[in-house]
Symmetry: C2
Subunit: 209 residues, 2 copies
DNA sequence: TCCACATTGTGAAAGAATTCACAATGTGGT
DNA sequence: ACCACATTGTGAATTCTTTCACAATGTGGA
C-alpha cells in the first residue's frame, strides 16, 4: 500500500477535520460521505478516495463515526500539541496572538518577537513580547519547529535570513513577499491580496455575462 | 479562441502581478518566463501557457515588458479601483483596516461594520465604524460588490443571512465556518487553521524520514 | 544585411486528480 | 435468520493540468 498521497488530498484533510469538529459539537454521531456536501464543497467519492489513502474508517451501509474519524484524521495530520512563536507584534501579529481558534488545533503560542523597543518586555494577552535578537536562541532552546511570520514585507528577507540560520522546519508566511528558502524549510503563504484579485476576476466575469 | 481557463491559472495570475510589481519597483524593464522562477514557484512553460489563454504579450528572443505585461494582467484580472467594506471591527477587522497593501491592488475600504455600541461611530484610521444594522442599506446605496467578513464564527451565519438578502456578489471569508450561500455569491475563504494543519502534516512527515 | 542566438507560443504527450460505477459488506427491520 | 437497503472502498474511465519539445519569430552584434 505504498502510494503517494495527492497534494489536493492534504489540502482537504484539514477541512474534513473542521466539519467533524462542528458535527461533534452538535452531538452528531454518524456521518456519511454524502453528508459532507452540506458543509464543504467536495463530492462524496472524493472524500472516500481521500480517506482510502490512509485506511478504512467507515462502516458500510452506515457511514463514519464522527468522533472516531475525527480522532483518526487528527492523528494522521499530526495534531499533537504543537508550540510556535509569532514574529511581528504589529496588527496582524496582535490579531493572531488573540486568536482563540488555535485551541481547536492544539496549537500554543509561546511568545511574540519584535524589534520595537517599546513593545519588547510587554505582554499581549498573557503572551510575552520578546526581542527579535533573541529569537534564534529561543527557537533552538525551546525546540520550535515552525514559526508564524507577520512582519512588514520590507523586513521579510532579514527575518528569513535569521530563520535559515536556525533549524526551523517551516514558516507560515503572512507577508506578501515570496520567501526564498532551502528545501528543508516548508513555506506556507497566506496572502489576502491574491485572494482579493481572484475576487475581482470573478466579479468582472460575472458582470460580463 | 473560446477555451475555458483553468482554475489553477486564475490562482496564479495574481502572483504574476505581484512579481511584476516587485520588478517594476526595481526598475527592471524586461522579464523572461524563466526569470519568474526566482520569485515564484512555477516552471516557465506554465507561465507561457497561462498567459496564452489571454493573448500574446511577449517578444520572442527577448521576454515580456514588465510594465506592459503588468498593465495587461491588471486589466485581465479587473484591478480597476474596487471599493469594499469590512464586517467586524475585532482584531482581524482592525488589522485589515490598517493594512497598507490594499493600495497596490487599488482597493478602497469604505467603512467597517460592527454591532458593538462602543465601537459604532468611532474611526479606525480615517475609516468610520458603522452600525451593522445599516449594512444592507449601505451596500445597496453605495453599490458595494463584495465584502470582507471578519466576524466571530458564532455570528457568521447571522451576517450571511443579511448578505444573501442584499445583492452582494462576493464574500472574502475570514471566519472558520463554511458559508452556505446561493451560487450567485462567490465565497473565497482565508483560513489559518487549515494552513497550520497542513504544516503539522508536513512536520510529521519530515520527522518520519 | 545577415546570421547565431534566445525566447515565445503552442500542439501533443505525460501525469495527476476527479468522477463513475459497482462489487463488497454491514445495517436494521420483520 | 433473512432480506431489502444503504453506503463504503476502489479499479477503471474521464477530465483536467502540467510538462515537453520544437517551429515560429524577433534580437542584437558583426
Amino acid at each position: 500500500m505504498k502510494m503517494t498521497i495527492p497534494e489536493s488530498t492534504i489540502h482537504r484533510m484539514p477541512q474534513y477535520i473542521k466539519v467533524l469538529e462542528y458535527l461533534d459539537e452538535g452531538k452528531v454521531l454518524f456521518v456519511t460521505s454524502r453528508d459532507f456536501e452540506t458543509h464543504i464543497d467536495v463530492n462524496p467519492s472524493i472524500i472516500r478516495k481521500d480517506l482510502s489513502y490512509f485506511g478504512e474508517f467507515g462502516v458500510r451501509g452506515k457511514g463514519y463515526s464522527v468522533t472516531g474519524l475525527k480522532q483518526e484524521l487528527e492523528k494522521i495530520m499530526g495534531l499533537t500539541g504543537h508550540r510556535t512563536i509569532i514574529i511581528g507584534a504589529g496588527n496582524i501579529g496582535k490579531a493572531l496572538t488573540n486568536y482563540k481558534g488555535f485551541d481547536n488545533i492544539k496549537l500554543k503560542i509561546n511568545a511574540v518577537f519584535d524589534n520595537d523597543e517599546r513593545k519588547i518586555g510587554s505582554m499581549i494577552n498573557t503572551i510575552p513580547v520578546l526581542d527579535i535578537k533573541t529569537m534564534k536562541a529561543y527557537v533552538e532552546s525551546e525546540n520550535i519547529e515552525f514559526v508564524i511570520m507577520a512582519v512588514p514585507s520590507s523586513i521579510a528577507d532579514l527575518v528569513v535570513d535569521q530563520l535559515i540560520d536556525s533549524d526551523i522546519k517551516g514558516i507560515i508566511n503572512f507577508t506578501s513577499k515570496f520567501l526564498s528558502v532551502p528545501k528543508r524549510i516548508k513555506v506556507i503563504s497566506i496572502n489576502i491580496d491574491t485572494k482579493i484579485m481572484e475576487m475581482f476576476y470573478f466579479l468582472k466575469k460575472s458582470r460580463m455575462k
